[in-house]
Amino acid sequence: MRTLLEIGLGNAVGATLLAALACAGARLCRHPAMTHGLWLLVFVKLLTPPLFRLPIDLDTPAPRPTPESVSIVHESAEPMILDRDALAATLSILEQSPAEPGNAVPAFGLVEGITVLWLAGSAVWFCWTALSLLTFRRLLACAGTPSAALQLRVDELSRQLGLRTAPRVALVPGRLSPMVWSFLGRPRLLFPARLFDSLSPDQTDTLILHELAHLARRDHWVRWLELLASGLYWWLPVVWLARRALHAAEEECCDRAVTRALPGSGCDYALALVQTLAFLAPARTTLPPAASAAAAVSQIKRRLAMILRKQSISLVARLGGAVLLGLALVALPWAPTIAQQPKEQQPSPQQLRRQQIEVLRQLLKSLEQEQQAEEQALRAKNTFVVETLNQPAQPKKTAEGTQFLIEAIVDAQKTAADQQKKLAEDHAKRAKEAEMRLRIKAAQPKAGDVVQAKDEIDQLRAKIAQAESDLGAAQANLVQLQAALDKLALHKSKAQPATGEFFAISLRSAQASDMAKILNDLFSAHPSDKSRITIVPDPRTNTLLIQAAADDLITVRTLIERLDIGTEKKTRN
């Protein structure tokens, strides 16, 4: 809408400048054809690309973000958790914009209001004009009475003027001026029946020739141009001034065409014009208020003088007019704005908001993928440990088995630590990239689309909370495994002989950690049992890892069956 208004105002200013040129040209050369051309260019200018665009800035600019809001992003530099900090900083920036009412860009500002008013006025104007034209056409369909004699005369005069096809003639009732009507079809020459009866044949010929000259000059095409420009620029006074001047120039051009086509008919033509005026004048002796036709009378006098005196135009005046016409023509169709490359447009606050949200989404997605990879690695490690523990018992090789198990756990932990280090480096790299992007975007104004931003913020918060929860679970898993590793290492350091076999019992109802605590408490009350039985819980798989002799295992299993009530146990050795 802003562009449309800028183009319209640019055209209005250009047309006003051309109108000033046309005024000067009309005073300088007084040549009706040149004057007509200059005024015609005013209408053409209104419908061609603008010479320049008037920049419009009527809306309040959105305030820039405060340095504090930007510094939140700048100072977040912890490598391991920088990604979360960057997300949190961005969210805080997003949260700030709806809280500041000044940041909101008005959805329907002054520019939009002016443009809508302009377009609505044009729409009303065009509708009203179309309605009037259709009504006139409908009335003419009822009123048009053909006249064979008059049609023959019109055909003959049309050939004299070089018209390919003569217009249809209609004698119409009422006090109307002779006129040419061209709307949706072949042009028609409307001649008032009563005026036709009151004029001599020579006088009638001059009036018909005048109207045919309009057709020969294609003035009915100019009417369409004028109609369009007037409808689009109804608010521009220059349009109405140009219309009046254009019509006056047209009539003078047609007067010249009549005196050229019928030499020596000047007096008849002048009398016909005055008789037409008398015919149009209503039957009253006093001038109605506010109906003074002084301007029209002076124009008629000028026309009569031109018809009867045959004024010639000096060469200097012709040259001056030609120069002005040339200047106007050069300035008209080539608009500098068309040749310019379109400027790279600054993104709007809404676009910036969307870009920020998109960046956060990508960041969060990568974070989730990394979390999943981490979890997968931990799961693989645990599975390996459980499978190792569930190997068939080989009493002779128990000591070697224990050593092998410890070494495997250490290897798995080392692998997990390597992966974690790699992920941390990757996180740091991504976070730095995000920080750079956010630093650029935080310097831009942000406003608008508050509801969408709030939704996005809520979603991002939920995703961050989920990611933190997953990470906590993974870390708890690591702690448990570390505890198991410590216990196994303790056994190895004491170099105790293997007193039993390894078993894994999955629990359904009870928590593995709770069950392990109960059993350890129970066996710690009997030091002899405690020295022979080791119970370690695995919370992730809810499994108890047990090292005990076959006899002790029966006792442990019985206890577990009692405590894990109502569930089915899987016991493998």
Binding site: T135, F136, L139, G174, L176, E226, A293
Partner: protein
């Protein structure tokens, strides 16, 4: 009747056309002529006639048990007036029709007209001696 009447809609114009062609007619006769259906459009035609009557374009005359409607003005008078109003509205007002006028001024006083005739006489006199002088000089 108002001097400057509003242009009648197409339906009312059709009723007036029928009255000009047939002369006085009842509502039933008009509905048969216009819609060839008769009874179904009786109310519509009656409403149109009431509107035309309120605008003083038709008047009713009692004939036996029914009313006959007849136009108050002739076709040319009506159309001439309507065209005048419309052209004035389009040319004198803010509208611009697709018309090329010979003369756009109306409402000149007799004094202004006589001034124009005097101007023509004067200009004709001025142009005549200019034509004759070379002839006299040649003689």
């Amino acid at each position: 009747m108002s001097e400057k009447s509003a242009t009648v809609p197409a339906a009312e114009l059709a009723v007036l056309q029928t009255l000009w062609e047939r002369g006085p007619a009842s509502v039933r006769q008009l509905s048969e002529a216009l819609y060839s259906g008769g009874a179904a459009q009786y109310g519509t035609v009656h409403k149109l006639l009431e509107r035309l009557e309120s605008k003083n374009y038709v008047q009713r005359r009692r004939s036996g048990r029914e009313h006959l409607f007849l136009p108050t003005l002739g076709r040319d008078e009506f159309l001439g007036r309507e065209l005048e109003v419309l052209v004035d509205k389009m040319c004198g007002g803010s509208l611009q029709p697709l018309l090329s006028h010979l003369i756009r001024s109306k409402g000149l006083t007799p004094q202004e007209l006589s001034d124009l005739l005097a101007l023509i006489e004067k200009l004709s006199r001025e142009s005549r001696p200019e034509k004759r002088r070379p002839k006299k000089g040649a003689d």
